[in-house]
Amino acid sequence: MFSAMLGEAWRAMGANRLRTFLTMLGMMIGVGSVVLMMAVGQGAQASVKQSINAMGSNLFIVLSGSFTASGARSGSGSSSSLNVNDANAISELDGVSNVAPISMGNAQVVYGNNNWSTSIIGTTPSYLDIRVWDLEDGYVFSESDIRSATRVALVGKTVVENIFGDVNPIGKTIRIKQNPFMVLGVLKGKGQSLDGRDQDDTIIMPLTTAQRKILGNQFSGSVRQIMVQANTPELMPMVEQNINGLLNQRHNIREGSDSDFFVRNLTAVANSAAETTRTMSLLLGAIASVSLLVGGIGIMNIMLVSVTERTREIGIRMAIGARERDILLQFLLEAIVISIIGCLIGLFIGITGAMLVNKITQATVVISGESVMIAFAVAASVGIFFGFYPARKAARMNPIEALRFQ
């Protein structure tokens, strides 16, 4: 009996193909836009998440403070208030898993006929642990390289592409500010940071080497910033407080006066970026859902017209023995078939659209089984919800009046 009714629904849909298509179009556009928007939104979320993971988790960055010269205050990181001993002291604090003092700057790098300006990061091996940054090839410099300020370097992918081309960089000598450096390793690609910087356009070397040979610090041992990683997200507030206390004490800063350093919570920044994209994808989904709703109303509209047009048919069916629920089921089934077929085509359109977006803009799109299932379930319920009223109207008709209908 069910298959017979499904056949009738199919026939009724085929009887007015243009109208059926237009009804489906509402569903198609609705489902298509929901799938597309969700794919784009989830893609944005995924790429933010990836950036956060690439940055490292539970991170603080301690920046040296500003200094004032002739009344002009320079920005943070300009004074030389932080040094390696501060970093060592921070690493003794509870809840801190990794600490990396960092000095950085820019320098011209030469290999053979090629040269390239890139950022130089002088740090300790723990920097790579904090940033979850592996090597593609070669090995990391050691603590003894830091002690003796060896001229060795780890090069980022972008640098490799620009000065080495196809040559294997491991063991080659590059010149940075006239100093020969041996390439120890090649860093794995990390892509863009949250603010769009190319993180692979960099060279990492021992902190002492960078300070003495490249950046030329005024005071030996001073660093621009210290990266601190807490053990767990829950420990972050405590760790932040302890860093402040420790550095105030070490720098002899009395309570109430300005600190000569700043502690930034990088994870909080990253989380707010993640929150923004989540809000954005919710918003996109909400807007797309409106079109799904409009599609549903379209179905109801057409079904009402269809019920009125087929009043006589309903009367005939009742006269030959259709029960109320047979009529209800017949029209409901028709609405559901229309919405499900519309939904399937909409899924196809949405997925194709998402792939096109990916092709054209290179933006990450994520088509999850979850979003497809949600779209499908919503479409089916839209069919039931908006098909129910017209179907009930049909089922409650008076057979005599329905038979008399011209």
């Binding site: 009714m5 109320e324 038979l403």
Partner: protein
């Protein structure tokens, strides 16, 4: 036991101008195998009476027993079941589903009876062959003549092996030759034991029945038995 037993039936309609009484004190009994023709002018209540007999409408008061059931006590599903299995309807306007093949039209009541697809097809096909339309089973109603459409409608009425056929002016849209063919078909069905109630305006059509009833102003004013076999022979001689 009577197939149809109607006692003291009243039917009122509420209209803007007040209540209108359409049927008054109607008493009617019909045995299985009867062939009854109902006649009467427009507005005499015969259509309302047919609708009540067909379980499409309910009386305001009075009793209607069909095949031993008190119809007033039945709910919507039970009434639908009676229309599906005990009664077969034939209408003036044929009332076939226009986009549906003759085979599926005839098989439709079996869908609501929950009969399997194969059996639906074979029973519908057999009946279409019986009414002489075996070669048109996959045609659509608009591809055949009015008389043929009415044969399809009769086949549909018969497909669930009903005890009673209710025909509301079945020849009203047909020419006289075709009308005779349809009436001959009804007479054959009656001899096979199916009870028939037929509403008509024309006395020569009513003459095919074994009993003629006349309605006037909501009452049965005339109830007469005739020798139907005699009438059939007379008409055959004429044509």
């Amino acid at each position: 036991m009577s197939l149809v037993l109607v006692q003291d039936l009243h039917k009122d309609y509420q209209t803007a101008a007040g209540a209108i009484t359409v049927l008054k004190q109607v008493n009617f009994t019909m045995d299985a195998g009867d062939f009854v023709a109902i006649m009467g002018p427009s507005g005499s209540g015969k259509s309302t009476f047919m609708n009540i007999l067909g379980c499409l409408d309910k009386p305001t008061s009075g009793q209607y027993m069909l095949d031993g059931h008190h119809v007033a006590e039945l709910d919507g599903n039970a009434l639908a079941r009676i229309r599906n299995q005990t009664i077969g309807f034939v209408f003036q306007g044929f009332n076939l589903l226009s986009r549906t093949t003759l085979l599926d039209n005839v098989a439709l009541p079996l869908v609501y009876a929950g009969v399997s697809r194969d059996e639906r097809q074979s029973r519908a096909k057999a009946l279409l062959e019986k009414v002489g339309l075996g070669q048109y089973i996959y045609s659509l109603p608009n591809q055949i003549s009015g008389g043929q459409q009415q044969r399809v409608a009769i086949a549909r009425a018969l497909v669930n092996r009903p005890r009673l056929i209710l025909a509301d002016e079945p020849t009203g849209n047909l020419d006289s030759v075709t009308s005779e063919e349809i009436m001959t078909l009804f007479s054959e069905l009656n001899t096979e034991g199916i009870s028939i109630v037929l509403v008509t305006h024309e006395s020569d059509i009513a003459a095919h029945a074994s009993r003629q009833i006349r309605f006037l102003d909501g009452r049965i004013v005339h109830d007469e038995r005739s020798q139907s076999s005699l009438n059939v022979t007379q008409i055959e001689e004429v044509s």
